[in-house]
């Protein structure tokens, strides 16, 4: 195999790799959005997913039990109604 052919092979491999990297970056940038279609109007729009809220702002002090709102369980005073369907057969 001569040098020219070797260079061609390297060139093809290099451009393929660069194309792959461009594709990776492109997909990474565009996949955060999703195209949606309004069924009523037929118009397309771009749905941007909201960022996940960060937990960095929560300090350890906020996690003390004094500041945490305790959930209370309120027992329902209403009596639970039983809906038993009355099954009747009309006979044959």
């Amino acid at each position: 195999m001569n040098m020219y052919r070797k260079l061609l092979r390297i060139w093809i491999a290099f451009t393929s790799f660069i194309s792959f990297m461009i594709g990776w970056a492109f997909l990474a940038q565009t996949s955060e959005t999703e195209t949606v279609v309004n069924p009523n109007t037929g118009m397309t729009g771009t749905l941007v997913l909201p960022p996940i809220p960060s937990v960095d702002g929560i300090s350890s002090q906020n996690l003390e039990t004094d500041s945490v709102q305790m959930f209370t369980f309120n027992q329902s005073t209403q009596t639970q109604q039983m809906f038993a369907p009355s099954l009747r057969t009309g006979g044959s």
């Binding site: 020219y4 052919r5 092979r9 093809i12 491999a13 792959f20 461009i22 990776w24 990474a28």
Partner: protein
């Protein structure tokens, strides 16, 4: 390499300049596209404090879907290289490029593109093992039709991959097998290409995108064109051979 010796042809030096021009144009186009894409991405991404941060933003290195992006990009790249290799395979048989591209070069590209596509398809499959949201197990990657994710079309893709490996291996064992066996095995590459196409269309995440649909169907139409041309050339050769045999007899 033994394959070139088998072809019995010397490198056509006169066609090197044409090839140089073609490569230069393609290189300039790719560089232009790369600069454009880089500029667009730089505008789109947030201002980075460091090169690593920039790379992190560009390739979503901290994203939970990073391996999914790598798999999709390598799958698309593997398909495109496999498509080019398939076209060159038809071109070698039908000699459609012989007027402007050396036969040895066509054969060399064909073989090299097959290897490259195998590499990218292998990467496409292997990185799915590391996917954090919907990982595939090794058995799901190796054994067709047992994958949780779109089992039928994923299985078709796995079979196409195995066929591509088989066809590519025959490049290197060509001296050990008969020419007829080499050709018969090579016909399987058509089935492998069709399998890869439908795997991409029906198992690919990006198949819903318009440009990806255009890419798949455009490449498929070009393969159909080259296939019909190849069949016509084969038919003409056979009819000419039959006529010459009749004349002799």
């Amino acid at each position: 390499m033994s394959t070139y010796e088998n072809l019995g042809e010397q490198e056509p030096q006169s066609q090197s300049s044409v090839l140089n021009d073609v490569l230069l144009v393609i290189t300039l186009l790719l560089v232009g596209i790369a600069i454009l894409a880089g500029g667009l991405l730089a505008v789109q991404t947030d201002s980075a404090s460091s090169p690593f941060q920039m790379l992190n933003n560009l390739f979503a290195l901290n994203n939970v879907h990073i391996w999914w992006y790598v798999s999709r990009a390598s799958g698309l790249m593997g398909y495109l290289l496999f498509w080019l290799s398939t076209l060159l395979g038809f071109a070698i048989s039908s000699k459609i490029f012989d007027s402007f591209l050396g036969r040895v070069f066509t054969y060399d590209f064909h073989e090299h593109l097959s290897l490259l596509s195998l590499g990218f398809i292998g990467l496409h499959a292997i990185v799915l093992l590391f996917e954090r949201v919907e990982p595939l197990s090794l058995t799901e990657i190796l054994i067709p039709f047992i994958s949780v994710y779109r089992p039928f079309w994923t299985g078709i893709g796995i079979i196409a991959f195995y066929l591509t490996i088989l066809v590519t291996v025959t490049f290197y064992i060509r001296s050990w097998i008969s020419m007829k066996a080499f050709r018969v095995i090579h016909y399987l590459s058509i089935a492998a290409y069709v399998g890869a196409l439908f795997h991409g269309l029906y198992a690919g995440t990006d198949a819903i995108l318009t440009w990806v649909q255009f890419m798949y169907w455009g490449t498929f139409l070009s393969v159909i064109f080259f296939c019909i041309y190849w069949l016509a050339v084969v038919w003409l050769r056979k009819s000419e051979a039959n006529q010459s045999m009749e004349r002799i007899s």
